[in-house]
Symmetry: D3
Subunit: 268 residues, 6 copies
């Protein structure tokens, strides 16, 4: 169960409105790697967790924090949309190309659909969807996913940082950068502990079952020679990579039989 | 540019048809972490790559191999759908619950839409979409994503392995398990090399910009105490985690101003 | 069964082309609350209806009218796209920021995909989908949904009205405003009649089953005190709201058991 | 900002596992009208709110509660998936049609993708998406939407109630039924207050602008006569409905001009 | 503008309920090539048409007819869902595998979401979306699309025909088969007329612009030799196909430059 | 199985960067009718093929070529995004409306998400999805689909051609135009051969089953008279079209029975 305080976790107030930046920030809210993806992934993983309680708590704490980030970015976007142009005259546009840029580059649904408040979409209006999340029941795999979520998210925030000079927006982004540093590092730590227990290859207990003659072979399928650079190096599981310059097709030509007549698969 | 041989990379022939297993295998084809996701992610990343050629080649070689896996699984699914029941009589169903299970549990679109051949969907008929892929332009982040792709995919193949006794299906799965071992390990190796160059926190050059007083703090947002377990441990970047039991809301209560009248935001 | 006349229900001709307004109008066509949502929801509800014939007719009449609105807006958009810039020279752009705004702010798929005619998308190119519709089999709930559809749609049309000065566009919008007034009112009337019969809480016959000690309690989960404003007021079903300042978590800490080994849920 | 307690808001423990019921309950979690839709809609509306604080608090309190419901249902689904059949033998299936039903009717992604824990999908595996939510900036319209959310959700829970005999599942559903009674009633109350202030037709200030000769006319587009039943009745805004038996097409036949040659609109 | 009659275009009444067949029929309603796709494509194309009126009328007549088909199939599905099992006891299931098949194979959203009436989804619950439609502004291309729509639809109806013995269902399917024959043939006729005017290659006026040395070459990218079978045959535009056994990569190795530092594209 | 060469099939290098054209070209990559749709459709059809080997090879050869086109367009887009504006100052914008157009009209995800490289989306950021592909098991229908894919794609390339003056971009488009000519023609040829064998109406063997009194009737559902133009003409199957001016509703008024009480279908 959750409780809410109306105070924000950190400042989320720009120095001045900027509807283009509002649109861009939607990536950190409703985009593939945005805060909603973090929140829903970590909470789902936490609720699905049945093992060591410290991982469950780490996931639920972080998922709960991400909700506060969703709140902060939603607030920031609403501030940035204040005073956005609704219907500038042709004359006004002709005088000021920066107004033209704002007017043409805004998300039109910010005004028509949301009354100048945040949506749950990415900057192109793509609705956030649960296909962005992961909760597999296997914590090694999922901790790796979480590290990726925080890496891609921090990368995007770093790019957004250089797309504005607004000190208020930058202040918030500096806070998010720091939290995404922490989250990368904490999930890496958890990942390492779990890898130590279960092995570095996920899942850890199928080694005896797989066809292991193919398990450490760099296969070359091109005229590029770069993959060979890894030949002879030691993989994280302690074995060495070999290299196959010209891998054979081992599987024969498939020949399924014609389908039941009632399917009408006319095929020549 | 690509060339194709009609021979499969490895065997993809079951001992006998099994329409339920055909449906389940769609996860490895058109699911979130299936082979199409690998193929499209690695090729896109390879084509976007501008740095060290060995990473580009590794990505393009692996992306090219994944296409062969898409081909193998598509073939396997078509074999598994041979002889699937189209319209068993009520009497036949009454006699045989295993026939009833097959009939009820099949993907109805395998017959109606695809004439008993593979789709590009997951087992629930969800169409594969490019929102499953990642190509960010940053290879550290993307190599991490690729390790996740291979981890989640190998996890799913491991589960599928225990959902069938068919030796033909298992033979193919054993091959995929091995390749996904290799791909996890090779992308980890590339990831490590890149981390050594750019730092473990992605991206590597924003440390001086972020609010770093928040960059190594485990924040507790719950009555669970598990996150504290990481307090004092050394993060991968060499610094130590601290722990904040009761993080304050630092940001004040937001107060955006009422919107332009022409937006009709009647709000009380 | 339906018949079509090529005459439009009402005027749909702008005074002059305006490709930005064309894009914005797509919201009323293919957006979440657009005319297609109305048409498909009301027709589906009408076809699913088994009770009093007057509601069935009201739904089918209105659904049939919405098709005429789809037609009008599609026509208007095609008119607005006449003469839209395909490839202005850099010089032309440099001379005229209002041309730059038009060129940058148009939906690029209007030209590339649709040859300057309407799409079935929202202004951000999101394809209309049936997840926007509702047809539940319960007319009280669905009449309420229909009132919402007309409310959100009229709100959006009101906003669009202030985004143009074109008298032709405004003439059509004034007609749509009026029809959405009528549709809000007629569905409210139907809703009220049905509530009188079945009760205001949907569905009406589960009162004896629910845990009714929780059925009239305003639960406070925040440090905001606003919800208390409703304490002691009379709800529409005649009972009074009570207020719980600090609701307890009543449910204990969940503890699911570890999964079958064959699922490989490595969890620490 | 939020805080979390690991205790659930209410009981979420079934008497025994039931993988078919687990699948069905996904509707209340990740379906169009499920708890995630409630949570994300109410929080978004609350964060977008700029008017009377009591509505903001009501929205944020209820959104925060919905997160607890997401947690409860996720937990319940994990319990229901314990001991679900992974790979029953043909013999076992032949002996027990109820096992066959379970095996065929389960969501295959519950095992393959989620390791027998909840997803964020509906029972057909459709990923939850933000297109299900509404946050328009206009509280009258959105309060109406919220009443619908609670109505459709309670309707679905009522149906789910009759799809199981499990007393543990039913106990949770009885709680949800009660909360959805409260939420319907509280949002209706807020809606009424707001309607009193702004008028019953949303938005309230366009009456003078619309073509009001069409604003109270029941238009008949069929050979059904049912809509006439509302003729002469008083609409909620105090005016009377009139009835038009055979509405004319008032708009003429549209005639857009042929497109620019460079668009290649070959049209006969 | 449209008018509706409550009478169906043709019979849509099964001899007896069959919830599995109800689910399967959703393909012809809300599937990729279902009736909604026909209706929305033909109407959109008709409304976008600016040339010869006979094509516009053909499109609008057929689009209007498809709406009647949507109505018929919706009705049929509702009939087929009468008496579907909501909650059979374990004992009942154990006695009757055909009941188990019905119970497990039904679309669970037919009951939970739609109260045993039709949805606008495919049999796997995938929501119909406008990405299935085409309206390009070019009638030659679109008439070809329409022939495909009718071909794939008739193929699916043919398969559905053999999935039931119910004479009522079959009666409706026989009617749909006939109409889809007509629609294939009429759109082919229109296509041919338009090809005669504009040429068989769409669009007709780019021949002088394309690199025409590549315009009639069968390029072989495999070890299969089948494509050679078309060598020397006359294409529909009167020219002969040539065959290239081993097409060269003509384009060099691409070398984009490293991105702006502010994008943080760490690449090795 | 596939092999890759790093050389492109044809030139893909613009004369100069142009981020608006980069966005527009995404249509040919990740749009409904883009190269990914071709590649995935033809490969799937080829792998599903069980009949005459020449069709299988034609499909696999062409599918393999389309991958090279995906590669070319991805490369072109990355070149076009070089030097795109990240954060122009208000002053710079005020001076140059063509910069304003570029800045406002770019895809913001090209920078934020992809670091100025190609996505797998359409120009509006819509993620490519498998619902764009077709693989039905019936080659006559699918060859027709393939002709449409190439027709719509070539139409879009023709439009894109006139949206740029860049000779490098045009060089690539001229090559694609030629290949899409070839692919239209080759699939038409295959289609014709298959029609000769199976008949022009798909599928060919249901003629005796359909209600053939409706199989050659142009039905008029409007006040337009254009459809009559086809009356008396000979359809491609040799029979003549008749015309029905005023088709009757033959099917009666449907009357489904009220649903099970447990579904709560309150309906008046």
């Amino acid at each position: 169960m959750f409780k809410h305080t109306r105070k924000l976790q950190y400042n989320a107030k720009p120095d001045r409105p900027d509807p283009l930046m509002a649109r861009r920030l939607q990536e950190s809210l409703g985009g593939q790697w945005g805060e909603v993806t973090g929140m829903m992934s970590y909470l789902s993983q936490g609720w699905s967790s049945t093992g060591d309680e410290k991982y469950k708590d780490l996931l639920l704490d972080t998922g709960t924090e991400e909700m506060a980030h969703v709140e902060m970015i939603s607030t920031m976007i609403a501030y940035l949309l204040e005073d956005a142009p609704l219907n500038p005259s042709e004359e006004d546009l002709k005088k000021d190309p920066s107004l033209a840029a704002k007017y043409a580059g805004m998300d039109p649904e910010h005004s028509i659909v949301h009354g100048m408040t945040a949506s749950l979409n990415n900057p192109n209006g793509g609705a956030w969807n649960a296909g962005y999340t992961t909760s597999s029941g296997n914590l090694v795999a999922d901790m790796r996913f979480n590290v990726v979520r925080e890496s891609e998210a921090r990368l995007q925030v770093s790019r957004l940082y250089y797309m504005t000079e607004d000190e208020g927006v930058r202040d918030m982004l500096k806070f998010l950068l720091a939290r995404e540093t922490q989250h990368q590092l904490q999930f890496m730590k958890a990942q390492e502990e779990l890898e130590e227990k279960y092995g570095v290859v996920v899942p850890g207990d199928m080694k005896d079952i797989e066809h292991d003659e193919f398990a450490h072979v760099l296969m070359n399928f091109s005229d590029g020679t770069g993959s060979r650079a890894f030949e002879g190096q030691t993989a994280k599981d302690g074995e060495k990579f070999t290299y196959q310059e010209n891998p054979e097709a081992m599987g024969g030509i498939p020949k399924t039989k014609p389908a039941d007549k009632r399917l009408h698969n006319d095929q020549g």
